[in-house]
């Protein structure tokens, strides 16, 4: 199999390049792209990428595989390879640190901007705060985000305005707290988002939904935030 990998070491390379590597795949076994990377790294230990859980829950190994963002550890090679060829690139739109490793600071800055934590101005009770199963169900499809960055780095609006548009991952988190029956800061949260960029730069292109490896739907969450902002405005 031919794998073409984006290589860049800032200390020695003037510019990044795609380097071809070849690899014998085992018969009758569909490897994950991460397994493939591990084998390539045995050939060339200088190849760098992030990885940890190897089961799609830690969010380390978001990369771009033949043009599609996803997690290397849960993407079968057969799903992304085309005619025996596979091109692996870092997530688009963020500065590259080395090879497949991107600098995620802008992504995390946007995450922190939405105040991604529960705010409740009442003193906590001696036990847990009560929440009905229905109220809790409002958080499903939101709290499972693993901050892999696949969505925001597939979003054209985020590429153009990574400093002003919160992006799909951050907005999904913003809605996760707006939707929580235990949070009392809804009005302030909405006020933080009502400028023309934070939310309204979303053009509904849905790239984010298409790539999210956890099957989450940031566009829908963004729609709900817009709904709340509009209602608040009237």
């Amino acid at each position: 199999m031919q794998v073409s990998v984006y290589r860049y070491d800032p200390d020695v390379d003037e510019a990044p390049e795609m380097r071809d590597m070849s690899l014998e795949l085992p018969e009758g076994k569909d490897l994950m792209v991460l397994d493939l990377l591990e084998r390539l790294k045995e050939q060339d230990p200088s190849l760098s990428y992030r990885r940890s859980c190897r089961e799609g829950v830690c969010g380390s190994d978001g990369i771009n595989m033949n043009g599609l963002n996803g997690l290397a550890c849960i993407t079968p090679v057969s799903q992304v390879a085309k005619r025996g060829k596979l091109a692996l690139r870092p997530l688009p739109g963020l500065p590259v640190v080395r090879d497949l490793v991107v600098d995620m600071s802008q992504f995390f800055d946007q995450f922190e901007k939405v105040r991604p934590y529960l705010i409740n101005d009442q003193p906590p009770p001696a036990q847990e705060r009560l929440q009905s199963p229905e109220e809790r169900a409002e958080l499903d499809g939101l709290y499972e985000c693993i901050l892999c960055g696949c969505c925001s780095t597939a979003c054209p609006s985020f590429w153009w305005n990574p400093d002003k548009f919160v992006g799909p991952a951050g907005l999904l988190q913003a809605y996760r707290f707006l939707a929580d029956s235990r949070d009392t800061a809804g009005a302030e949260r909405l006020r933080d988002l009502e400028d023309p960029f934070s939310v309204f730069r979303c053009r509904g292109i849905m790239n984010c939904v298409n790539v999210c490896p956890k099957g989450l739907n940031p566009t829908q969450a963004i729609g709900k935030i817009r709904g709340l902002l509009v209602r608040q405005g009237t």
Binding site: D9, P10, D11, V12, K41, E42, P45, S46, S48, Y49, R50, R51, S52, C53, R54, E55, G56, V57, C58, G59, S60, I74, V97, R98, D99, V101, D103, M104, F108, E112, R115, P116, Y117, L118, N120, P124, A126, Q127, E128, R129, L130, Q131, S132, P133, E135, R136, L139, Y143, E144, I146, L147, F177, D180, R182, D183
Partner: protein, 590 residues
């Protein structure tokens, strides 16, 4: 060597998993100058993988539930070498710690009355084993670790803790008096080496499941903190005690939670027989993990395994129905489809016992300070060093951990360590700075790799180490195999000491990190091997075919492995809980 950049803190926490983040939160709230070093972005820590839940007597499913019953189960589960003062502290402080998490926003699943949902897990009982199965594990679907870790990270964002993310701690720095004064660390992005000095250093570096070829653990679980402590000459406790989880997906190693059996799933052999009924007539599939894992291996060895090679058994869930599986075990459906190519709604999942958890670790007091022994065998606190979470052995898990007790361990003892350090710093700690030669000693290992010009490859040596551990120190152990394993490990120690790091670049050099991790894997594996050989009995997860009985006369104690002379000493188990009667050792039946 060139002068090192130096940073200074009151409290330094190495590790951004559940234990490290809980400790950090305490220190951030105290206003001390504290920092967290983590080799991965905190939400990528292994805690994120925990599925089933956090066990704690919050009396939601059963209003009569009592932390003392939880304590009874934990002591019994530990096969009586868990320290009863520590277990008492964990079980009684637990509810407060869990409610705190809920107040921080953890999205627990809920009961109809709006309280936290609890599910049954293995080894749980009501009324000191007399009242039948309890449901004590608090859950956020089957993504409890993810929910817990993200919530703690969120709370730290709110609390304003200082994070040195993607920094790799290489070794401890010790001063001339043997006190720990910080660490040498690499800023991964640039490759810069930094001396991070601190009045108190907490090792919260998690487990080391990667010493085995087949494990549920993340790739980053390489036992770095334990390796650092051993290289600094400090002992580790009960390191022979490794938990093999009954339900790792065959071939992949990926875990499916015990919660599957808690929700009503069960194991079958090739004849479709629910075989656990034979081994544990009362608790059946929810017996202690060590008991279930051994029963599975016996089924496989006696020819009742499933699949072409007869090398696994099956976990049956389809009878629970799609609705329950979707709401209670959504993550398991995902993992099974991806890694076992089966849909549990219709087909059973192929599973085998898989290395899962390190019960042993750095011995600590209840408040987190690390311990060694003086010349007369008395406990002695190590100045400046603390440990919490899976890297520590406080010891609440003894010879076998109960499901859901690790997450509780993280938050209860992470918090305790934070509190203790705050007090100690406020009372004033004065200590000699590390000298140039102290720093050089701490950098020696890194220098060795950086200067290497030829030798064997890291990947090949790692594989050999993992295969050795799998072959000689698995679910069942015998003298003969262990001796052989120890010889191989001795050879590996020499070879790893001469191995080669071909890539000497600076920016995000993961080859260098993997080399440094290999040293840690070796330290943990070697300590495991020596301690396992020394403990000539069967207890909890340590099952010896040549010593099948528990030997309370000689081994109702902790093992302490000292690296400098490769000696295994004994340390007394605590049988003095402060507020409840002691639980005397009994035969362990499920």
């Amino acid at each position: 060597m060139a002068a090192l950049r130096k940073m200074e803190f009151d409290g330094l926490i190495v590790g951004g998993g559940g234990a490290g983040l809980r400790a950090a939160l305490e220190l951030a709230q105290s206003g001390l100058k504290a920092a967290v070093i983590s080799k991965v972005f905190p939400t990528r820590s292994h805690t994120v993988s925990a599925q089933g839940g956090i066990t704690c007597a919050i009396a939601s499913e059963d209003p009569e539930d009592d932390w003392r019953w939880h304590m009874y189960d934990t002591v019994k589960g530990s096969d009586y070498i868990g320290d009863q003062d520590a277990i008492e502290y964990m079980c009684s402080e637990g509810p407060q710690a869990v409610f705190e998490l809920e107040h921080m926003g953890l999205p627990f699943s809920r009961t109809e009355s709006g309280r936290i949902y609890q599910r049954p897990f293995g080894g749980q009982s009501k009324d000191y084993g007399k009242g039948g199965q309890a449901a004590r594990t608090c859950a956020a679907a089957d993504r409890t670790g993810h929910a817990l870790l993200h919530t703690l990270y969120q709370a730290n964002v709110k609390g304003g803790a200082t994070f040195l993310n993607e920094w790799f701690a290489v070794d401890l720095v010790k001063n001339q008096d043997g006190a720990v004064t910080g660490v040498i660390a690499i800023e991964i992005e640039t490759g810069n080496v930094v001396h991070v000095a601190s009045r108190a250093t907490v090792l919260a570096t998690g487990g080391a499941g990667r010493i085995y070829a087949s494990t549920t653990n993340a790739l980053m679980n390489t036992g770095d903190g334990v390796g650092m402590a051993l290289r600094a000459g400090f002992p580790v406790q009960d390191i022979e005690m490794w938990q093999f989880h009954p339900t790792g997906i065959a071939d992949a190693g990926v875990l499916v939670t015990e919660g599957c059996r808690g929700e009503g799933g069960y194991l079958i052999n090739k004849d479709g027989e629910r075989f656990m009924e034979r081994y544990a007539p009362t608790a059946k599939d929810l017996a202690g993990r060590d008991v279930v894992a051994r029963s599975m291996i016996i089924e496989i060895l006696e020819g009742r395994g499933c699949g072409e090679a007869g090398d696994h058994v099956l976990l049956k869930l389809d009878h629970l129905g799609e609705a329950v599986l979707n709401s209670r075990l959504p993550g398991i459906l995902e993992l099974s489809r991806t890694f076992a190519h089966v849909d549990p709604v219709r087909q059973p999942i192929p599973v085998v016992p898989t290395c899962h958890y390190m019960m042993g670790g750095i011995p600590t007091q209840v408040r987190g300070q690390a311990l060694t022994q003086d010349d007369t065998g008395q406990d002695q606190a190590i100045e400046g060093l603390y440990a919490a979470g899976e890297a520590a052995c406080v010891s609440v898990h003894g010879a076998n951990r109960l499901g859901g007790n690790s997450l509780l361990d993280l938050i209860v003892f992470g918090r305790a360590a934070g509190l203790h350090i705050e007090q100690a710093v406020r009372q004033g700690i004065s200590r000699r700075d590390a000298s140039e030669s102290d720093l050089e000693a701490a950098r020696a290992r890194l220098a060795r790799w950086n200067d290497s010009t030829s030798g064997e490859s890291v990947a090949a040596l790692k594989r050999e180490l993992q295969n050795t551990m799998q072959a000689s120190f698995g679910v069942f152990r015998t003298e003969e195999h262990m001796r052989k394993g120890i010889e191989t490990l001795k050879g590996l120690r020499d070879r790893i000491g001469n191995a080669h790091l071909p890539d000497k670049s600076n920016a995000f050099n993961t080859a260098r990190l993997e080399a440094l991790e290999l040293d840690n894997l070796l330290e943990v594996a070697y300590a495991t091997a020596i301690a396992a050989e020394a403990r000539r009995e069967s207890r909890g997860a340590h099952a010896r075919e040549d010593h099948q009985q528990r030997d309370d006369k000689n081994w109702l104690c902790h093992s302490l492995y000292f690296p400098d002379d490769e000696r295994v000493a004994k340390r007394a188990v605590n049988f003095q809980p402060a507020t409840v009667p002691v639980l005397e050792p009994m035969e362990r039946k499920y």
